[in-house]
Every structure is written in structure tokens, then in C-alpha cells.
Amino acid sequence: MTPLPYWLILSSILFAIGLAGCLVRRNAIMVLIGIELMLNAANLNFIAFWRYGSGAEAAHGIMFVLFAIAIAAAETAVGLALVIALYRLRRTVQVDEADALKADDKPR
């Protein structure tokens, strides 16, 4: 059986990759992909702690994962709708160009 720290380090690397994706890519969809990776890293942590925890019977970890997945799906749907609205408004999905709230501001 693989020890718990391996799982945690795996999840940490996954989280770091997601965070890096969020921070370095210009495309808003790539930012969302990064966020998905970070959420999955968190889910991996939940499962790992559930498996190695004491109250495995209570299935709390599973429940957390299920709820997190559902909320993540909702978040993705809203995020992508925002991206499409942004695209319709500005003809671009580059996040560094979308730095003003008012539509008539010219992108830098």
C-alpha cells in the first residue's frame, strides 16, 4: 500500500501545476482548466485522507468529493458562459486584455 505522504505530494504537484496554469496562460479557458486541476488535486486529498482516516465507514470523504465535483461542474458551466459572453463582447478571451469593467473601454 502506498503511504499517505505520496498521495499528498502527488496532489500538491497537481495543485501546483494547476496554479501555474492559472497564472501563466493568457487564455481564460486555460485559466479555467487550471482551476479544474486544482479542484481535482483537492478531491484527491479528500479521498486520500478518507482512505487513511479513522472514520472510513462514515463516507464523509466520499460525500465531500461528490459535492465538490458537483460544485466544480457548476463553476465550470458559469465560468465558460462568462468566457463566451466576454468573447461576444470583446472578440477576445485573453484575460490580460479584459482588465476593465466597462464595455466601451478599449483593450490596452
Partner: protein, 688 residues
């Protein structure tokens, strides 16, 4: 009776509504606009007849029927301006005349203007004019009369310039407006003076009006410059307006030019109704004009002036008409001349004499103008009588109607209305105590009238048709002249009936018209005829002489080509050129008044540009220097400290706004670093 006076205001309002509605109509709704205008006039005619019938009974023997309805219009402090309308024989007669002639001319216009693209606008203007004219007629306040007076002037301007794309029409419209405005200045001054002296502009107001005894007796006794009675002075100022509107001598120049408008307009406005408004005004304020101090039996100064100006205008315009070649221009000068007769009639014989000629003239002159319009229409817009001729066979209905109108105007004895009304004027002039001059001038004018109308008839309807020469000269083939459609000839025939029949209402044997205006009952008395017989015989002789002379010169040997010299020109070339040049009044005005005006304008321009302009520029320069100094003070003293503070604020703002750059990834980075720092602090900071 009370209901009649309460309803009189509807008569002018109906055409106003028609005008307002047709102004909003799209251009294609030609039938609607015409139907509205004609319907309004027809309804107005029926109402006018009701009002007319009401005035047939005198209120008391010797006092004409009169009902007034006044109302407050403006209130300033304790003073107030009242307006109102009046129903008496004068206004009722005018109402009937204007609505009847107006309705007939409207119907005639259906045919005459049938091909005009702005047909709808034309009827809108016509209805507007009719409304203003009817309002003028029933006004019981000099102010209301003045308002309508200006409105008919505006309508006249619009209609003379109806074909505004023609430069001559636009110029004629402007000229008419400006020349009548000179007279209107006098009218305005007279009105203000009258208000100052009497405190009321209402004509009749239960003893308080400005034409009633209380006010008049006050006005008569006080005198102004040169011993002129105040009433006469005000009357003369009012007469200035009347002279402008009715084309009396110094101000007649606009009326012949006004013939640039469509012919129905010439007939309605510049022959039958609006130009008669001046005569009507004098008749309306007649108590003021004729007022003399009690005891003195002479004629008031105002009436003397009216008489002399009228007589001079009558002969002057008749002379000019002799040598004109434009069919409408001849009629226009004839109108000026006849208006002179009316003024003279008012001066020498009173309201009844002048108004009788106004009524008969309205019908036969409208008839003549419409006939001329029919001729012009039939001859394809040809207006020069030298290019006509021989139309008697080609346009029989028009010829018959025109002949009736011509004989009424010339004053052919017994059968035609013009004879009776003109004879009444000449008779009164003959009896005038002061001078026989007006009588002589009037008689000479009658001779000339017969002469020039005969000339016109000969040239237009007799002899060979000379249109072929014109087309040969113009280089295009013009069609044969043709009779006009029934919509144009039927109004002609109706007017012809009135031109004949109206005269019998005022013959010396049975002066019904006079009695009606003055409120007395009259009966047929053949004996009165014998009193007037010498004058009648004389005027019949004059007419015969004039017509004979006209026939001798023009009918005996009809001219064969348009280029031939005029018969009178061969006899008296010098006289003819002066007459054809219309005594060079226009040229005289151009050389004096217009040049003076231009000189004054140049002088004003110079003063404006260099003297006042220099002052303004100096002021501007000084102001500029002062503001420069103020700017320096501001910039270096006041703004220095302020700018420093502002600069610091802006630098601070720029720093903080740099943090808020809108880049979400920067925000996220900060969050990530803060998370890392937090975890480090939690794990090794001793919190756990």
C-alpha cells in the same frame, strides 16, 4: 337676434379650420383640401346670409341695425384690452360679398390650378386669406381689425409669391409686403394715438367706444399741429394704412406687380376683397373721419384729403391703364383707379356711396379677372394682349361674361351695376360744396375707363388672332386657343348675373342700399330719378364718347401683328411712352427712396464697421490685456501651490491604481504567495 350675433364668429373660424387642416394634409390630398376650403366658404356664405337677413330690419328709424359682442382679451393692471365683433349692415354686406365671391373664386380655382403641383397649399392659403378677411370685416375693435389686416397682408404675400421659384413673383411679393407696411405704420400710429386719447379701441361699446358720440365730441374739440382737429389727424393716419392697402396714389406701386400671383388670387385679393379693405376701413371709421365741431358746416380735413387722393388716383391709374399691354396689368390699374373712385365716393358722398361702388366693383372686377384668367388659360399662359385677338369666336362663354364685366366697369347706362354706383359717386361729387375738381377728375377718369376697356376688348376678342405671329417668333407651334372647362365658366356666369343685377339695389329712384346702411326705409320714387338725370345723361355721354374713341382707334382697323405700333402711339408717341412707363413712378422711387435707403445703409455700414467696430475692437483688446495679466497672476501665484498638491495626489493615486491593474492573474499570484506565506507562518510560526 342674440343668437345671430353669438354665432357670427363662426364665419371666419370655418375657413381658418379648413386652412389648418389642409396645412397638415399630404400634398396628394388635393380633393380633400379643395373640398374643405369650398365647403367652409359655402357654409360661411349661408351663415352670412342669415346674418344679412337679420340686419334688414333697422333697430329704430334712422338708426341702422347694430349688435356687438365684446370680450376682455388682455388685462394689464387696471387697464384692459377688449376685442369684439359687430354685426351691422356694413359688416353683413361685406360678409355676404366676401363669402360669395370667395366661394365662386375657389370653385374657379379648381379648374385654373388643376395642374399645379402645390394645389393643396394653394387652397390652404386661400382659406387662410378668407378667414383673415372675414375677421377683418366683422371686427369691432381697431386692434382686431389691425391683426386681421396684417394677416390678410401676410396671405397676400404668400399668394403673390405662390410661384416663388419665379424671381419676379418673389420680388413682387416682397414689394407688396413692404409698400403696404409703410401705410400700416400710419395705421399703427393712428391706432396708438386713438387709444391714448380715448382709452378704447372698440368701435361700439354702449357709448364708450371710440366711434361713439362721447369719444368723438372729445376728439373734435382738441386740435393738434396747425389747427388740425385731433379726429382728423387720427383719421389721416388711419387713412395712410387704407391708402397702402387700397393702392392709393403714392403707394399704388405694389398692386400692378401683385399680378404675378395666380389669377384667382388677383381676382379675390387684388380686386374684390383685400384691396377694398382700405375702403372698408375708411367706411368703418367714417364717424371719426367726418367729425367736425358742432356748428361748423364744412367738410372735415380728413375727408378732403380722402377725396382728393381718391380723385387723383382714379384719373392717374386710368391714364396708365390706357397704354398697358398685359391683360392683368390693365385690370390692375383699373382696380387702382376704381379704388380711387371708392375713396372719392366716401369723401364726397358718405359711406353708402363708397360702399355701393365697392360691392358692385367686387363682383364685376372679380368677373373681369376670372375672365382674364380664362383667356390666359385658353391662350396657354399668354398674357400679352398684342398676341391675342379674335377670341370672340373661340371662347364664346368667356367673351359674353367678359363683355358684361367690361360694360359694368365702363358704366354702360341703365342695365349694368357699374353705371349706377359710378353715377352715384359723380352725382355726389357734383354736389360737393368745396370744389368741382374731383367731379372733373372723376368724369375724365370715366372717359378713360370706357376708352381703355374698349381698347382691351378690341385687342383681345376682335380682329384676327395674332397668336400665330407669337409662335412664329418664339419658334414653337402653339395650339389653338380653347374655351375653358365648365368649372371655370360657371362662376363667371354667376358673377355676370350679379354684375348686372346688383346695380338696381342702389339706383337713385330706389336707394335701398343707402337706406339699409343708414337704417332708414326707402320706397320707389321715380321722382328722385329726375334729380339725378343731368348727371346720368352726362356720364352716359362720357361713356359713349370713351367707347367711341376706343372703337375709332382700335376696333375700326384692327391691328394685324403683335409687332405693329399701338394706334395711340402713332398719334401721340410722347404721351404714349410716358403712360406706358407708368409715369415712371417706380423709377422715381428707385432713384430717390431706394437710393437714399442704400446710401443710409452704406453710411450705417461704415459707422458700424469702423467707428463702433473700432470701439468694440479697442474694448476687446483692453479686455484681452487685462485677462492676460490676470492669467499670469493665476498661473504663477495661485496655481503654483495648487499644482504642487495636485501632483503629489496624482502620484499617490497612480501608485495605488497600479496595484489595481485589472489583471486577474496578478491578483491570483498575490493570493498564492499569501497562501504560501500563511502556511509557512502557521506551520513554523508557532501557531500549531
Amino acid at each position: 337676434m342674440r343668437t345671430v350675433i353669438e354665432m357670427v364668429w363662426i364665419v371666419p373660424v370655418l375657413p381658418l379650420l379648413a386652412a389648418g387642416v389642409s396645412a397638415l394634409l399630404p400634398r396628394q390630398r388635393r380633393r380633400t383640401a379643395a373640398a374643405l376650403a369650398i365647403g367652409a366658404m359655402a357654409a360661411g356664405f349661408l351663415l352670412s346670409c342669415v346674418a344679412f337677413a337679420a340686419t334688414l330690419q333697422p333697430a329704430a328709424p334712422g338708426a341702422p341695425f347694430r349688435l356687438v359682442r365684446n370680450f376682455e382679451w388682455l388685462q394689464f393692471g387696471s387697464a384692459s384690452l377688449a376685442l369684439g365683433w359687430v354685426l351691422d349692415p356694413l359688416s353683413a354686406g361685406m360678409l355676404v360679398m366676401v363669402t360669395l365671391v370667395g366661394a365662386l373664386i375657389f370653385i374657379y380655382s379648381l379648374g385654373y390650378m388643376a395642374h399645379d403641383p402645390n394645389f393643396t397649399r394653394f387652397f390652404c392659403f386661400l382659406a387662410f386669406f378668407a378667414s383673415a378677411m372675414l375677421g377683418l370685416v366683422i371686427a369691432n375693435s381697431l386692434l382686431l381689425l389691425f391683426i386681421c389686416w396684417e394677416l390678410v397682408g401676410l396671405a397676400s404675400y404668400l399668394l403673390i409669391g405662390f410661384w416663388f421659384h419665379k424671381p419676379s413673383a418673389a420680388a413682387a411679393a416682397r414689394k407688396a409686403f413692404i409698400v403696404t407696411r409703410i401705410g400700416d405704420l400710419g395705421l399703427l400710429l393712428g391706432m396708438v394715438w386713438l387709444y391714448r386719447e380715448t382709452g378704447s379701441l372698440l368701435f361700439y361699446d354702449q357709448g364708450q367706444g371710440c366711434l361713439e358720440q362721447a369719444a368723438l365730441s372729445k376728439l373734435v374739440v382738441s386740435t393738434t399741429l396747425g389747427g388740425l382737429a385731433l379726429s382728423s389727424a387720427i383719421g389721416l393716419l388711419l387713412f395712410c394704412g387704407a391708402a397702402g392697402k387700397s393702392g392709393q396714389l403714392p403707394l399704388h406701386v405694389w398692386l400692378p406687380d401683385a399680378m404675378e400671383g395666380p389669377t384667382p388670387v388677383s381676382a379675390l385679393i387684388h380686386a374684390a376683397t383685400m384691396v377694398a379693405a382700405g375702403v372698408f376701413l375708411v367706411a368703418r371709421v367714417y364717424p371719426l373721419m367726418q367729425a367736425v365741431p358742432s356748428g361748423a358746416a364744412q367738410v372735415s380735413t380728413a375727408l378732403q384729403v380722402v377725396t382728393w387722393i381718391g380723385a387723383c388716383t382714379a384719373i392717374f391709374a386710368a391714364l396708365i391703364a390706357v397704354a398697358q399691354n398685359d391683360i392683368k396689368r390693365i385690370l390692375a390699374y383699373s382696380t387702382v383707379s376704381q379704388l380711387g373712385y371708392m375713396m372719392m365716393g366716401l369723401g364726397v358722398g358718405g359711406v353708402a356711396v363708397g360702399m355701393f361702388h365697392l360691392m358692385t366693383h367686387a363682383f364685376f372686377k372679380a368677373l373681369l379677372f376670372l375672365g382674364a384668367g380664362s383667356v390666359i388659360h385658353g391662350c396657354h399662359e399668354q398674357q400679352d394682349i398684342r398676341h391675342m385677338g379674335g377670341l370672340r369666336r373661340l371662347m364664346p362663354v368667356t367673351f359674353a361674361a367678359y363683355a358684361v364685366g367690361m360694360m359694368a366697369l365702363a358704366g354702360v347706362p341703365l342695365l349694368f351695376s357699374g353705371f349706377w354706383s359710378k353715377d352715384a359717386i359723380l352725382h355726389a361729387a357734383h354736389l360737393w360744396p368745396l370744389s368741382k375738381g374731383p367731379f372733373v377728375l372723376g368724369a375724365a377718369g370715366a372717359l378713360l375707363t370706357a376708352f381703355y376697356m374698349t381698347r382691351q376688348m378690341c385687342l383681345v376678342f376682335f380682329g384676327p388672332n395674332r397668336a400665330a405671329h407669337a409662335s412664329a417668333a418664339g419658334g414653337h407651334v402653339s395650339a389653338q386657343p380653347h374655351e375653358s372647362p365648365a368649372v371655370m365658366t360657371v362662376p363667371l356666369l354667376i358673377l355676370a348675373v350679379f354684375a348686372v343685377g346688383l346695380g338696381f339695389l342702389g339706383s337713385p329712384a330706389w336707394p335701398w342700399f343707402q337706406g339699409w346702411l343708414e337704417g332708414s326705409t326707402t320706397h320707389f320714387q321715380a321722382g328722385h330719378l329726375s334729380e339725378a338725370l343731368p348727371t346720368m345723361l352726362l356720364s352716359a355721354l362720357i361713356v359713349a364718347a370713351g367707347m367711341a374713341a376706343g372703337w375709332w382707334l382700335y376696333g375700326r382697323a384692327p391691328r394685324q401683328s403683335p409687332r405693329e405700333a399701338d394706334a395711340l402711339q402713332r398719334l401721340q408717341p410722347g404721351l404714349y411712352s410716358i403712360l406706358a412707363g407708368r409715369f415712371f413712378v417706380d423709377e422715381f422711387y428707385a432713384a430717390t427712396v431706394v437710393r437714399l435707403n442704400a446710401g443710409a445703409a452704406l453710411l450705417s455700414d461704415f459707422l458700424d464697421r469702423w467707428v463702433w467696430g473700432g470701439l468694440v475692437r479697442l474694448t476687446a483688446w483692453l479686455t484681452g490685456q487685462f485677462s492676460e495679466i490676470a492669467r499670469m497672476a493665476d498661473e504663477f501665484l495661485v496655481n503654483g501651490g495648487f499644482d504642487l498638491g495636485c501632483g503629489r495626489l496624482r502620484r499617490g493615486g497612480r501608485f495605488f491604481s497600479g496595484l489595481q491593474d485589472g489583471q486577474i492573474q496578478h491578483y491570483l499570484s498575490v493570493i498564492g504567495l499569501a497562501l504560501a506565506a500563511l502556511v509557512l507562518w502557521l506551520v513554523w510560526g508557532g501557531a500549531l
